[in-house]
Subunit: 159 residues, 2 copies
DNA sequence: TCTCCTTGGGCACACCGACGCGCATCCTCG
DNA sequence: CGAGGATGCGCGTCGGTGTGCCCAAGGAGA
């Protein structure tokens, strides 16, 4: 199934404002409300739209510090990976965790209030992870780009 | 201003389902619809809720490969940073870009269709970035955690 | 070339639900 | 005991949503 420019326009708009009504969206896209409703439903049914989520301002919660953590395990055995992953999903300050190729086994993205708070997280969350051989942390000084969706998605319009 | 458990419960629910109606939310949180409406409006006005966004299934667009790219610049001068950042924001496949402490100057997260596609992105987007001294890419074999909001936010309830 | 058929769009309408208001009540704190 | 803040209930209005129907455009086949 292929998406045309209007579909992409709908997705782009919903990515910005998920609560827009059919008529509101229809005006922006250049369709009638019924035509838009059909397309939106199709996009949902076909799985292009997973759901609608509120975007929280994490800075408002004091979470202004992003830390990238590289973790190497003692062993790359399946059992070690499973044990590590079972615990890392419980870490409440971790927002992303990738199993990586190359020398570093895992890369985590951790959100903290500040550097002191990260020290606490390191002590109470990260240091308790099993099978860890080495932990290396780098602080993000600034976030230059933070997109949920790559802009390339909205630029491939057919027709 | 402090949030109590009901506020956090509202935020948690809206993070999952941003289109829930007042009555729907009220039932889950244990409030009446009016009390909930007031609290939700307060959360919006106070900036805890930035907005409501549709979550797209990137796999549906073929973007199944995540790549972490480490980039070191030739120079850390303010001019070099500005020049680099002015260009990197134009890269349509980059979803995140951090200015880092330590040896690596920037870390990007790039979404690609597959490894072949990343080669194209490397050639057409990354290699054109100015002032770059070294580029090092690591592929994510698997995504263990992908949260928009750390669970720690929902667990600090007062009262 | 004509015709049939399919696909997508627009218009109008009716129903249903959401939303916001006012007021009474309750709880807490001073 | 009084006052302020938050809650819950009921109501009316408004808007969104979904349906049915018709129309236009494009493609296929005879």
């Amino acid at each position: 199934m292929a998406l045309d420019r209007k579909d992409l326009s709908i997705l782009a708009e919903l990515t910005t404002n998920a609560r827009a009504s059919h008529t509101e969206l229809a005006n922006k896209v250049g369709l009638s409300s019924t035509a838009l409703a059909r397309r939106q439903k199709t996009l949902e049914d076909d799985g292009y739209i997973q759901g609608y989520r509120a975007a929280l301002d994490l800075a408002q919660f004091g979470l202004t510090t992003t830390v990238l953590v590289r973790i190497a395990l003692e062993s790359q055995s399946d059992e070690a990976l499973k044990a590590f992953e079972a615990e890392v999903v419980k870490c409440p300050s971790v927002v992303r965790c990738f199993l990586m190729s190359g020398t570093d086994d895992y890369i985590l993205i951790v959100l903290a209030r500040d550097i002191r708070d990260f020290e606490r997280i390191h002590r109470t969350e990260l240091s308790r992870l099993p099978r860890v051989a080495r932990v290396q942390s780098s602080f993000a000084l600034r976030e230059v780009i933070n997109r949920a969706v790559p802009t390339v998605v909205f630029g491939e319009g057919k027709r």
